[in-house]
Structures are given as structure tokens and as C-alpha cells.
Symmetry: C2
């Protein structure tokens, strides 16, 4: 977090509580996402301290939390929530607080110090070693705004933290030195802690090494790569199995037990979508320095609401393999302070499993790329009504370009859907127009709708979030209406997208998940989606055959989600 994101206060002042708030029950709200994590009230930004409790199979998510207002302001805490499945979220209150009520406990990470390298857990004999949690975070002191790295430890499994008495553990007298992420580097019998910290305005990620989390030695840096924008934030380094077979990535993975390393960097402001976004680089890491294999900057998400991605420390094991999971903040600093939600603002993405493999990003060209899969298990969901469409049985043509599907008997504003379509030879042709759109329409006010669709001649899938009566959407200067991504076909030539709509978030995972498009949208509160119009966007006339063209193949399967009832 940074100063230039200060909020314009119009006619009210927020009074700052001097107590750490204890309230843990979310206030109900008609526009609150159901399966996405939101703050119980107040303000949320970056995810922090993500870790997975292997013993209890529990996901821990902390986040930048201002309990005193629905916009960013100091003091800033680490809020905390846990989930058994990434869909049900239990709020456990504030976990980390700043020393000073005019300052902030800024972003950072958690590790499990299972071997008690820090010594903090010597007295906590009853604590399982899988729960020896240490938070590493940035304290900014309001006197100088200097940012230093602090550590705190928890002897109750991550609910509350005690600060290390000799903090800070890293300090360089800079106002632009933040967002520490710590991982455990293991190479045979050698292991040590590695910390990545952003020297934001220098576009530099500084790496450190430690044996005890207290004493850090500077090792290397990575700077001036990819898109820069105004600054780098939230570096995250992740070791990840390379599942591909291509070129230098394969060569390097073979040398490193099948693994490569990914460095995620968030930039804000100054992303090309406008405002905030996250990019990543693929390379090797020897415990001291990160070396990219190629030099491309890959977007982890093409939407306007996916920032400050952070990777979980630990993940459920998949056989012998370590998995990698991540979460990001689904908003944008350009407009986050004023989005039209009531007693809370901002949410997190679903937890995403990240894998690294070969992506055919252009015909014949395979490059290593992250694919994302949302952690969403149907067994944890309670479903309502369903809607489906199949163009092979329900014809769309020039005379009948639209088909309406009602699924209003379990209105909840939460929908899971899969859309598949084909384009001849992976290419638009005159006799096979593939342009279509879907309008997810409000039930009470059907003139409000979220439109998504594909246009083959642009090679792109779009979201149009501008069709709403919510005035803020139109008057806000940065809430872009149309957002798109160039999408590639599946290996069989078809296209597909898995979508999750959750009140005011839409996450779209294309194909195998190499491309994801995450955006917020806002319709009148309570105007939950009650129907879908499936429409041909344009009908081509085939002059060779002297007839209107055959429609493309399009299938939709959608289900309303009532809640994530995993009991």
C-alpha cells in the first residue's frame, strides 16, 4: 500500500478506533459475494500471509484491513479468515496490528517454521510443528513513513501474533521498501529462508537469505524487467513443477529436478489495462538469485481487477508433488475506494491452483506459461436452478438470432457456467460466423445485464460491464466498460471458458486456464441474474451458397449456486 492511494473524503471524517476490533461476524449485505472472501465490514486490499494448514486442511488468508471505514486509511491491520475449501470463509478477527495507531501493518507473508529455526516456539510445546506460523510484514512508521520489515509469531495457529522484540529485521531507511515474501529454499540437505522485498520506485526486487528469519543477508536483486508502470509491489517467488516439454524451459527443469521458479510482480499504477495488474517471469533460482530463462512479461490475468497476487506457503500435496496456490485482490486502485458496495469494500479472487506448462500462444509456438484453475469443488456447493443451451438443437439464425433461458427460480446472483464453441479450422470464415454474446440479465430489472461474448475476427472474448443503472459505473472515470482478451483454441480446435459469477465479480478461465479475465461489475443491489439471452452477434450471408450462414456450434451449461454448504 502506498500514500498516493489516499482517499478523497467528501463530507465525513472517519474516526479511528484505538482498539483492535473484535467483531468477527460479517454484516449481511445484498451485494456481498457468496463464495469469494470479503471483509466482514470495512476495507480490504492486498492478500497477506497466505498459508495452508496441512494438519487441519485449512486455508489461512490474511488481508490489509481498515475496520474503521470502507476505504483505505490508517491504522491498517491484517484481517484474518480461514476456509476448509476456499468457498466458505470464517472470520477470526485482526491478526496483526501496527505498533502505532497512525501507522500501518502493511503487506507481507507467513511461513511455517516447523523446525523452529527462529526459536520462537521453544516454549510452545503443545503447538503442532505444522502450526508454527511466523508473519513477515512491513511496518510503516507515520513519523517518517519509512518502511521496515517486521516479524511476528503465533502460538495459536495463526489467529493472533506476537511481535519479535528486536524488530525490524530489515531496514534501509526508505519509504519504498515493502511487501516481504518469505519462502523456504531447500536443496538437498541445504535449506534456508529467502525473502523477496520490493524496492518499489526502483523497480527492484531485493532478495535476502536467513537461517532464523531474524538475521537477513542481502544476496541479489532483479530489476527493470517487463512492464514497470509507476512501481513494483508484492513480489512473490514460487517453485513450481514444469510440466511441459519445450526448449530451454525443459533443459533447465531437467537440471533442477523438474522444477522451475516463477517471480510474480504487481505494478500499480501504470498497468496498461489502467491502474493495477500482476505480471510474472519464469526462470531458475539457486537460493540466492533469480535468473529468467526468457525475457517475456506474462500477464497472470487480463482483467482490470486482479492485483497483488500472493502464493500460499504450503499447499495440499498432490502425491509427491508440491502444488502452488495463489489468491489476489479483485479490485483496482483506480476506483477501489468508491465502488458501490455498502458496509464493506473489495474482495479476493477464488483460490487458484497454478501450474506451469506449455501454452501454444500462437499456432506452432509453445512457450512456458502459468495455467490457473479455480479451487471450486462442486461437492462443496449447493446448487439451484440450471440453464443450458445447445445450438445444435436450438437453432440460432438470421430470423431467430436470440434465445432466452430463464433460470429465475433460485435467484442468488451466483452462477457457475461452462461455455464451449467451435470455429471452423480455428479461424473465422464467411460461412462460419462465430460471433455471439450472452446477456446475463437482472430478474427485477432486466434492462441491467452483464454481457460477455466472442468475436472471431478480433480473436477476442469480451466482458461488457457497462449495461447497468448504477450511476457510479458511468460517472467513475476509470471503470472501463469493455475489457477483452485474445483467446487461443483448445488442442482440438474448439474454444471453451469456465465462468464464475458471484454477485459482482466475474472470473473467466479460458481453455486450460492459460488466460484468465477477472473483473468486478455492479448492477442495482438485489437485481440478481434471472435469465440469459444467447444471441448471434452478426449473421453472415454466404454468397457462394446464396444463403444465410449456418450458425456456429455453441453450448452453455449454467447452474445457480445457492451457497457453499459443505456441512
Amino acid at each position: 500500500m502506498k500514500l498516493s492511494s489516499l482517499i478523497l473524503i467528501l463530507t465525513t471524517i472517519s474516526f479511528v478506533s484505538t482498539d483492535v476490533p473484535k467483531i468477527t461476524t460479517p454484516v449481511n449485505s445484498i451485494n456481498r459475494p457468496v463464495i469469494h472472501l470479503t471483509p466482514p465490514y470495512g476495507w480490504m486490499n492486498d492478500p497477506n500471509g497466505l498459508w495452508y494448514d496441512e494438519k487441519d486442511s485449512l486455508w489461512h488468508v490474511y488481508y490489509q484491513f481498515n475496520p474503521n471505514a470502507t476505504h483505505w486509511n490508517l491504522p491498517l491491520y491484517w484481517g484474518h479468515a480461514t476456509s476448509p475449501d476456499g468457498l466458505n470463509w470464517n472470520h477470526t478477527g485482526v491478526a496483526v496490528a501496527p505498533y502505532d495507531k497512525k501507522s500501518g501493518a502493511y503487506s507481507g507473508s507467513c511461513v511455517v517454521d516447523d523446525e523452529n529455526t527462529s526459536g520462537f516456539f521453544s516454549g510452545a510445546t503443545e503447538l503442532d510443528q505444522s502450526k508454527r506460523v511466523i508473519a513477515i510484514w512491513t511496518f510503516n512508521h507515520h513519523n517518517s513513513w519509512a518502511e521496515s520489515q517486521y516479524i511476528s509469531y503465533s502460538i495459536d495457529g495463526g489467529v493472533s501474533f506476537k511481535d519479535y522484540r528486536m524488530n525490524p529485521v530489515a531496514s534501509i531507511n526508505s519509504t519504498q521498501y515493502r511487501d516481504p515474501q518469505v519462502i523456504k529454499y531447500v536443496n538437498g540437505n541445504d535449506k534456508w529462508w529467502v525473502m523477496s522485498v520490493a524496492k518499489s520506485h526502483q523497480y527492484r526486487i531485493q532478495f535476502y537469505k536467513s537461517n532464523n528469519l531474524k538475521n537477513w543477508k542481502r544476496t541479489s536483486y532483479f530489476e527493470l524487467y517487463g512492464l514497470l508502470g509507476y512501481q513494483y509491489e508484492c513480489p512473490n517467488l514460487a517453485k513450481i513443477r514444469y510440466e511441459g516439454e519445450t526448449g530451454d524451459w525443459k533443459t533447465q527443469a531437467d537440471k533442477n529436478g523438474g522444477y522451475l521458479w516463477v517471480l510474480f510482480i504487481s505494478i500499480n499504477p501504470g498497468s496498461l489495462q489502467g491502474g493495477s495488474s500482476t505480471e510474472y517471469f519464469i526462470g531458475t533460482f539457486d537460493g540466492l538469485a533469480f535468473t529468467p530463462i526468457k525475457n517475456y512479461a506474462a500477464p497472470i490475468d487480463y482483467g482490470k481487477d486482479f492485483y497483488a497476487l500472493q502464493v500460499f506457503f504450503n499447499s495440499p500435496k498432490d502425491g509427491d508433488n508440491s502444488q502452488v496456490h495463489a489468491i489476489a485482490w479483485t479490485s483496482n486502485w483506480q476506483y477501489c475506494a468508491t465502488v458501490p458496495t455498502d458496509n464493506w469494500r473489495s474482495s479476493m479472487s477464488l483460490i487458484r491452483k497454478l501450474q506451469l506448462t506449455d501454452f501454444e500462444s500462437a499456432p506452432g509456438t509453445k512457450i512456458a506459461f502459468i495455467k490457473s484453475t479455480p479451487l471450486i469443488n462442486n461437492e462443496n456447493l449447493r446448487f439451484g436452478s440450471t440453464a443450458s443451451f445447445d445450438s445444435t438443437t436450438t437453432k440460432l439464425d438470421y430470423f431467430h438470432p436470440k434465445h432466452t433461458i430463464d433460470f429465475s427460480d433460485s435467484l442468488n446472483g451466483v452462477i457457475k457456467f461452462t461455455l464451449t464453441w467451435t470455429v471452423t479450422n480455428g479461424q473465422w470464415t464467411k460461412s462460419n460466423p462465430a460471433n455471439f454474446y450472452l446477456d446475463f440479465k437482472g430478474y427485477a430489472l432486466p434492462d441491467e445485464y452483464l454481457r460477455i461474448g466472442y468475436q472471431a475476427e478480433a480473436g477476442a472474448f469480451f466482458v461488457d460491464r457497462g449495461n447497468t443503472n448504477v450511476e457510479w459505473v458511468h460517472t467513475n472515470r476509470f471503470f472501463t466498460d469493455k475489457i477483452s482478451v485474445n483467446v487461443q483454441p483448445n488442442s482440438d480446435g474448439s474454444y471453451s471458458v469456465n465462468g464464475i459469477i458471484d454477485r459482482n465479480i466475474i472470473e473467466l478461465y479460458f481453455g486450460e486456464g492459460f488466460q484468465v479475465l477477472t473483473n468486478t461489475f455492479f448492477m442495482t443491489g438485489g437485481n440478481f441474474i434471472g435469465s440469459v439471452d444467447v444471441s448471434l452477434d452478426m449473421i453472415a450471408y454466404d454468397f457462394d451458397k446464396n444463403q444465410y450462414c449456418e450458425p456456429f456450434t455453441l453450448k452453455l451449461e449454467a447452474q445457480q449456486i445457492l451457497d457453499a454448504n459443505n456441512s
Copy 2:
């Protein structure tokens, strides 16, 4: 150009002429830009073959031209226009034609072979050696769609071209091998031609060397850098004086006579703005290989309509210094085929002078960056009415948040303006709200307006092109309404932007020109801008002083442009 940009034909077929069209007079059109180059009729995309005639002080611009329809289709020609000033454009007809009416003369470049290395000019004894123009372009053969590099020479100073009989000069049996740009590399007494060609789907720029433009030897390649999107197109390599004083850029420039090299690459589709954009890399070039100094990908323009940038071969000299000038296509493949203009489509940007120097992109951090200055000399313009605003004399406050300036007595839809504003300490504070917007309103239909403005808390300047009655703007899937750029202050802490509005293009040059935002916009035909509303966007209340905040400082100077009458 590529196949996936094929156009959906609704109810008409375009009949392809088998003759090269001779018409050179543009058809008048109410929505045609006045000082930006547009095709006389039909379709334009990439700029091609840019060169500057030093003897006659004339800018030559060629462009991808389909005279038979207002969308991309084959055959595709090189249209040609010249200008003494970059503002007045004279159309001279088709310069390069494909061999085959089902194929295309695709993008490429021109060089001046002043020393007749090619031998083409041995018989042209009356032709000044400064006019020995050779075009290097991609021919795509409709049988295989294979792309090869062809050369053609002109003995009439670039108006018409004859094809080399032994074409192609470079061929690798690929459909993704195009957009050759040739420069003359000079190092002391050594000199040779260097060609850059995109192997598009491989994200590779291939470099070649030749002594005669006919025989090319492959030397090196540059691949997988920066943003990739779907493919690389239109590589452009430029030698440019480094005017900065910083780090490795200075060290390398000192070793190379004060010069560095910039490699421009256009990506489409798949840019993060959606669709098409151009990025660049800064490095060194030894005549054989390009080596980046750092690894950031810099955007040359942050707008949605600036693609396929090409650098002029030769430029007016500035003392002993070579200058670098460039032009780009101001549209986007996502929607270019359907923009609401009548008998023509697309335009070029103004010619921009490019310089390389230090940009303080974040406080305290200087990086080498291109700054752009539009080639627009007031002496070449005939001005109409003016409009000005000064917040120090015309107060805006809570009770009077808006001021309207009429300048409707010379309606023409072409406006040149400068906007300067200040924000305390380069930072928004509660007592100095700097948020404002300007509505450039149509005279006949004042409910149509182009809105631009700044919000300090987002650190961003925005264009909102969505306030129009033109239905296409709202129904097109990719014509994003709000586009923004994070802008940095000038060295004195103030902010400024120089703007050019030309019927349906707005180019915004921030500060010294390190950041440019170019976008098209569309209002009802003939609804030229007749007034400007200057508005405070939000008024803050200063609780310390118990009063509404003082307005920021804002100055506007605007002039209507009647035409570029340089006679």
C-alpha cells in the same frame, strides 16, 4: 497484416478492381481529420516505407491501402502521400502493387540508396541521389499465403516503383514472415544494410545484413521479450542519440558516440489495452545483433489507437544530429473494420519526433525512455477562435464547480490545446484537491462530449469517449469507453498536457512527452466541438480549516484550427 483480421461482410460484396486506381483526390467527408493523414477513400492500415526527402524537404508516407472497400481485403496496395509539414497531405496514388490481384503488397519500408549499392539507379542519371528510393516489402502469395520479402525501386522519387526481377530477396516458406524494415548501418568506414523481419508467431525479430539490398545474410535474432500477445509485427530499429546521464545507458552511449538503439515491436492481438499496441526496447546494436541494456518493455503510447509504429528513413537534420521521426496507425484491429466513418477508414498519427533521454518514472528513479513531440508548427496552421481558462482568475469551488467556455464561432472539430495544473508537493492532499475534467462539447448536440480529466488519487489522466449518440460506440464489443495513463509531474512539480483533437482523434502528450495517449472517438457527424466545460470533479472539505478546500491551479489555452494552410 494477417488473415485473422478478415472482415465480416454483412449484406454487400466488394468487387475488386483489376486496375491500380489512379484517383488521387480525397473525397470530402464531414468526419475526416483535417491535419492527420487519411486515405483518399477506401481502407488504410499500417504505415509503410516512410522516408524523408532531404532535397525537397518532403515527408513521404506510404500505407497499406485497399481502394476497393472501407475494410481490409485483397488486393492490398501501398498508397502514397507526401507532406511538406506533416499537416498538409498530398495524395499521389498507388505506389506499390501486388503481382497478383488476389494477393497483397504487405507492409515494409523504404531506404534511400544514395550510393547506388543496388545498381538499380545506374541508368537514372538525372535522378538526384537523395531520391534513389527502394521499397522493401512483403509479398504474400494467395496460393500458399507464404510471405516473402520483395524489393522495388523508384526512379521518379518514390511515386512509382518497379519490381526487382529476381524477387524475392528473402524467403523461408513461412506464412508468418513479414514487415521488413531496412536501415543503413554505418560504423566509421564500414556500412551495410540491415533488415529486421518479424517471424510473427515465433515472437522473433530476425536480423539480416546486405551490401546491395538484394543478397541478405542472416545475422541474429531477438525473441520472446516484453509483452508477447498473439504475435509480433512491424519491427523497427532506430539509432537515436541518448540525451540522458544515467547508469548503463550513459556508459553504453559513451562507448557508441553518444547513441543507443531502440527496437520497436508491435503486438496484435493480445495487447493489454485490448487488441493492438506498440512496445520498445532500448539497447545497443553492432550492425549484427541487438542487445538490450535493461529488460523492460516500454509502451510508446498508452492509448488504444496507436499501432504498427514505423520510423522514417532519414529525417531533417538538427545541426550535426540525426533526428528520428515516426508515425503509427491510429486504429485497433479489434474494431477498425467498422468504425463509423463514411467513404474511408483509419488515419495515421501526427509525425512524432522521438528522443531518448532520462524519465523520472517514479520519484528518484530515472530510466531511459522515449519522449515524443508531435510535428506541428503553428506557422503552418490557420487558427480560428480561442478559448482559455485560468483558475486563479476564474474561481471554481463547491458552489461554482463548472465554467463554460464558448468558442463556437469557427466550428471545425480541430483543436490544439495546452492544459497545466498543479498538485501540492506532487501529491494529492486533502487541502488541495486536483481532480478536474473538461468536456469538449458538440455545438449542434451538446449532450455529446469528449471528456478528459485528471484524478490525483489515481495518479491518472483519463479520456472518456463514451458520451456520444453514435450507436456503434456503444454496441461495438471492443470500443472501450475509459482509457487512462498514470502521469508523472514535470520537474517543477506541475503537470501539463499538450492535446490535439482532430475530428475523431485525440492525441495527448503529457509533460515532456514521455507518456502519450492516442485514441479515436466518434460523435455525430458534423457535431463539431463548440464549447468546453471545465469542472471540478470533487470538492474536498478541509476539516482543519473548517472550509471547503481551495481549488487547485488549472490553466487551459485552446485554439480552433481551421486548416493547415501553409501557402
